[in-house]
Symmetry: C2
Subunit: 444 residues, 2 copies
Amino acid sequence: MDALHTSSGLTMTGSAKRPHVVIVGAGFGGMNAAKALKDAPVDVTIIDRNNHHLFQPLLYQVATAVLSPADISAPIRHILRKQKNTKVLLAEVTGIDRDQQQVLTADRAIPYDYLIVATGASHSYFGNDQWAPFAPGLKTVNDATSLRRKILLAFEEAEHETDPDRQRSLLTFILIGAGPTGVEMAGAIAELSHAALASDFRNIDPKAARIILVEALPRILPAFDEKLAKKAQDGLHNLGVEVRTSSPVQDINESGVVIAGQQIEAGTVIWTAGVSASPAGKWLGAEQDRAGRAKVDEYLNLPGYANIFIVGDTASATQAGKPVPGIAPAAMQGGIYAASVIADRVSGKLNSHPFRYHNRGNLATVGRSYGIADLGKVKFSGFLAWVFWIVAHVFFLIGFRNRFLVLFQSFWGYITFQRNARLITHDYAAVVSPKPRERELQPS
Amino acid sequence: MDALHTSSGLTMTGSAKRPHVVIVGAGFGGMNAAKALKDAPVDVTIIDRNNHHLFQPLLYQVATAVLSPADISAPIRHILRKQKNTKVLLAEVTGIDRDQQQVLTADRAIPYDYLIVATGASHSYFGNDQWAPFAPGLKTVNDATSLRRKILLAFEEAEHETDPDRQRSLLTFILIGAGPTGVEMAGAIAELSHAALASDFRNIDPKAARIILVEALPRILPAFDEKLAKKAQDGLHNLGVEVRTSSPVQDINESGVVIAGQQIEAGTVIWTAGVSASPAGKWLGAEQDRAGRAKVDEYLNLPGYANIFIVGDTASATQAGKPVPGIAPAAMQGGIYAASVIADRVSGKLNSHPFRYHNRGNLATVGRSYGIADLGKVKFSGFLAWVFWIVAHVFFLIGFRNRFLVLFQSFWGYITFQRNARLITHDYAAVVSPKPRERELQPS
């Protein structure tokens, strides 16, 4: 390792000789990598453009007014506050210089000895980016609060509306893509309209809202066992969700969605289908797959660069010829693995074993009391699977307070059918300067 | 009453002959007026530009990352869902035509027989509106989340910063105006920096942050007993807040505040001083006081208009020659009073008694465990007064869930010194159209 790279202003006092590990992204992959490096003889800098780690699998509950953003977020600094070898940097990464071994932000270059890239993914419209304004996706807190506003305003507008056709359109919600997010969100919108809002309006009956879940494949939840997926579909049916499988979307426009040559008028269309990787693959000059993920070798290394690891949704990894899925547990395992290889190499052990993804199973919920659990050998559905889903999710939420609140709110919502975060917030022209002053900072 | 006005499209089916009461504003005044009309033989329409009632006295806890916006908000529709004579309208009022007896929005005119105006207040810079961009105030959810972002980003920027002067400036917080909001917010920022953030940074020591509370008058909390105010000031001192009384602000600029001819550099300046009334006084062509409040008679009527009531911060009411204060209890009492007079008149009773404001006392907290209570004859301070403050505030929060959460979070914060809503959210250019489609609605 080049000593120059470790003597930057960013390394810790008294440890200028320790290798510097830079982690880009504080999602499941990056956070777990950082935590796994706690006792390693390295200095760690973790960079994220947000100050918080986000528990993305519950983001749909923010979009459907069940939880507040802070309920599923925790400050990155706070999670890592006791980890003295680790610094947190709030900054937007703009590139990576793999020859100079530097991560670039708007105002500085951060040298690294080892690099872990864990920048996640955003939604992909499969080449139809013109659909984006009509069918927003769900990846960030802002996506979620925007969607929440859109969904709640649809009911408000329908209440005003006097044209019955337009009213019907406003009360139609279409979700495109029947993976776990689409299924869970469809159930949540069904319960919002059929239960939580049931008695709040005077001119409309929210129970009349149509929720349509559209899927191009012949079945929902392709990652699950087929029988379980069928049960989930029955569960959705019981909640009043219309499921349309084998229905590829032909067009999305301002007033709805075209399927099988027919336009369905809908005030709200939500994209729960594809994701595409962050630009990290481009930054690294990596070979990318169709979704923009950077291809990695069996050590999660960028081929030819034993000190650059790519984990989670940013990476295209394969195992026994099959792709490692782009889900939270795979990102966590990847982050922990990369950290262990770095710890090995720093302590002179060079023959690390390749990455092995362990599939611990798949879980999904359908509404407030029904779930499915596909744990490989064990498969079950119903109330027990729903409780299992809650416990598993709460267990992974970082920080006690979040665990408690999510659990409490889930049960409270179960008891009362209410939504606690039905807040329509507007972006007024802010009196406060809304942009971070980061760019005013001088390079150190 | 003119029958034409009650036969609008907005009145309830089967009750076209009942007088129509329109309430503008769903704050403490408007909500309490609506609830008090529950059993009156009238149809009620309550109009607000937000979908939620906001518990404004706790807004500073959102700005200081203790609570989430949804914790202190409840959907107006939900609160009034069982009140069958009442409709809720999400719309921005643009004017009032008192001759035609109509409330005007962008796309319609809503006729009324009785009108209650309860549109509240926003901050006033006493003629120095050029200070607004440098010293934001705190009246809406957006104000609070903007301030939260500004405060949390100040620490992030200081962590990056290498110039010690600029670092010191970033860690200086000035609050202008030592009423309850200024005192409570100063205490909350002091605890945020001296306790909650204490171990989260590597380059800065958040404990070194300066919090300065500036007041033009010779003492803080002028509405309180002088001895109690002194105790609060001691409490602030113990928390490390610098209190500067008899210090009128001469200027506020991009880099700080000028007091006594001297510039104090500060990255964050917060306006907790004056308020000015909403434009309702202008809409009504009313005589206004210096703060823009509409002068009302002893029945809270616009003089000459026995069917127009103005309550809460929008009104300039006097009692025994003294002004009724612009605080939540006065607004609540005003709203209930206006409703009772309307109920009287509708049932033929024309000799209502004049409005009488009952001062039930003043409460304030200083940090996480110290409060002062000025209940007239009874005055006390310390931990007991803090508990009393919590109970009183939680009691007034509408809806059980909010009550529970605020109580839980207050005690949890007390135990752990942590902040649970440390979320810096950015306003990215939204993929979703962020503006309500209200203007697309056709007039009914």
